[in-house]
């Protein structure tokens, strides 16, 4: 099987190996590192990770599917995760979601047809004091108004 994950991935894993007493503990770091390279975790990638760890691909899928951050289907270039949990909904997060759904004519969980944006409703991001909060890929945006969201999307 030809390897799809890069040398850098395997080097990073090599560095992590001595930090854990078991090989299985490398699974979450491996899934993160792989997703950073490929933006989503396709079945072949899961298989390659399984081979690296030395477990069955079903076990990788079993674990990966437990966690919401692992994308088991393709996502857009910009992955918007808008928190709508208690503190954010009190501060108007619903308007942010509605704005995006209307603008792109998609529902939460969907990706725009040009594959540029994926919209997700997110559980608490731990930014309740600066609600409403949103993540775009790895970055937080806080105290967000619809106008600011609009301007941000224009820049992307």
């Amino acid at each position: 099987m030809q390897k799809l994950l890069s040398e850098a991935f395997y080097l990073e894993m090599k560095k992590l190996e001595p930090k854990y007493p078991t090989r299985l503990a490398l699974l979450l770091p491996a899934l993160h590192a792989a997703q950073k390279e490929t933006s989503w975790l396709s079945p072949v990638i899961l298989e390659e990770i399984a081979k690296y760890i030395g477990i069955h691909p079903a076990q990788v899928r079993e674990v990966a599917s437990f966690y919401t951050m692992y994308n088991l289907k393709p996502v857009g270039k910009y992955h918007l995760k808008i928190c709508t949990n208690v503190a954010c909904i009190l501060r108007g997060a619903e308007h942010l979601v509605k704005y995006c759904e209307k603008k792109w004519n998609i529902q939460c969980g969907e990706t725009t047809s040009d594959k540029k944006f994926t919209l997700m409703e997110e559980e608490c991001l731990g930014a309740c004091g600066t609600a409403p909060a949103m993540m775009v890929n790895d970055d937080y945006y806080e105290n967000l108004s619809v106008e600011q969201l609009e301007a941000l999307i224009e820049r992307l």
């Binding site: 854990y20 979450l28 899934l31 993160h32 437990f66 966690y67 951050m69 692992y70 559980e123 731990g126």
Partner: protein, 423 residues
């Protein structure tokens, strides 16, 4: 005014650096002192400090450390719980991004006190930037000899690894966290054995919250008695980071002595009162899992025992304030949607019950509820409460029972009017 330990450094990017920590915060002097003390002396000091777990359970940290067996055939582990995901809680993020060395020094001292050479920081996956900042601080600490082999020339060696979660509330539960650290689904374990006997990778393990750990260097440096006196109640030492969110004029973090304020004082004296000067409707005092309080119940002191007496809890000290403009049925529906989503699915009462509660509250909110639904909700909540492996079930049942009991007329209005009166 109580002395604050943390908050004066928040918002300052320079505080992240080891140079700032060493020069402005007496950084790593507690570690120097700790390695000249015996393990029992350190644990004794932490016990004297009345440092209670800041993650939610409030268990005394010193007593927890004392549970670790002195002799163990398996390696011991010291784990920092940085999974901060209780809705309404946002204090650990600032501790990690502005005072990462305080957290590291606390972990190293904790590791020394229980005889461990390995520490992990289990940080929620969304805190990608914070994980990077912690790693940068770890690199600095290795460079200066505060981490690694023979720390400060002593026989003690210690390593810390940052381990990122991947989006699962349940991984804040300590045994769910340990399974996740081991590369498994984050499903909580049957207890006993408790982590102190068999935790990470089967070895004796301590899991402490970030804020708990960040308090440790102060306790070692200035003494357990000094720390205990920062608190105003007998059993609760130190300061607490109260996170206030929702409908207040100035949401954010407030650091005050444990047990030194009532909810009313915090909202009106510190947070500038209710947003838009509207009427207060409800306060959830300890993260969304804490049973709700009405506007008449806020003269209670914000600490563990006083809140327990009024049927709620301090939890992670995340205080969510709700004014009269927001429908409490809609709010509860959103809260329970969260628990239904985050239930790991192991225990039937929680897996099925949370889903049913979500459906029923949604139906009431949208005008399709029936009179019998309220008792049905209470019945389901009662069938979850105390009947699951971990506290997530209780965390979902508590809000349902308290909202229905305290705001019953709001629910009845929805049912009788066949719509949300606010809609």
């Amino acid at each position: 005014m109580t002395e604050t330990l943390f908050i004066q450094h928040f918002g300052k990017e320079e505080a992240r650096k080891i140079s700032y920590y060493v020069e402005k915060m007496e950084g790593y002097t507690a570690l120097k002192k700790a390695i000249s003390l015996s393990q029992d002396e350190i644990i004794g000091e932490v016990k004297k400090a009345n440092l209670r777990g800041r993650g939610g359970a409030g268990f005394p940290a010193g007593i927890k450390w004392g549970f670790i067996p002195k002799q163990s055939s398996k390696p011991k582990y010291f784990v920092c719980n940085a999974d901060e995901s209780e809705p309404g809680t946002f204090k650990d993020r600032d501790l990690m991004r502005y005072t990462p060395h305080l957290v590291l020094e606390g972990i190293i001292i904790g590791g020394y006190a229980i005889g461990s050479n390995t520490g992990y920081i289990y940080i929620r996956g969304e805190y990608t930037r914070e994980a990077g900042l912690l790693q940068a601080a770890i690199d600095e600490a290795y460079e200066k000899g505060y981490l690694g082999k023979n720390i400060l020339g002593s026989p003690f060696s210690f390593d810390i690894t940052v381990h990122r979660g991947a989006g699962a509330y349940i991984c804040g539960e300590e045994t769910g966290l340990l399974n996740s650290l081991e590369g498994k689904r984050g499903e909580p374990r049957v207890k006993p054995p408790f982590p102190a006997q068999a935790g990470a990778f089967g070895g004796p393990t301590i899991v402490n919250n970030v804020e708990t750990i960040a308090s440790i260097p102060f306790i070692i440096r200035r003494g357990g008695d000094w720390f205990a006196k920062l608190g105003k109640l007998e059993k609760s030492g130190g300061t607490r980071l109260f996170g206030v969110s929702g409908h207040v004029k100035k949401p954010g973090l407030y650091e005050l002595g444990s047990g030194s304020v009532t909810i009313r004082e915090l909202i009106y004296d510190y947070c500038g009162g209710i947003l838009d000067d509207r009427k207060l409707k409800a306060v959830i005092p300890g993260g969304s899992s804490a049973p709700v309080l009405t506007a008449d119940e806020i003269d209670v002191v914000l600490d563990i025992e006083p809140l327990m007496k009024v049927g709620s809890m301090l939890g992670s000290a995340g205080i969510i304030v709700v004014n009269e403009t927001f429908c409490v049925v809609k709010l509860l529906a959103r809260m329970i949607k969260f628990y239904a989503h985050e239930s790991c699915g192991q225990c039937t009462p929680c897996r099925e019950g949370c889903q049913w509660m979500e459906n029923i509250i949604e139906r009431i909110e949208h005008g399709g509820g029936e009179e019998r639904d309220l008792n049905l909700l209470l019945d389901i909540a009662d069938n979850i409460n105390g009947k699951t492996l971990c506290a997530l079930g209780d965390a979902a049942a508590g809000p349902v029972m308290s909202f229905v009991k305290k705001f019953r007329s709001d629910f009845e209005q929805h049912i009788r009017g066949k719509k949300c009166p606010n809609a």
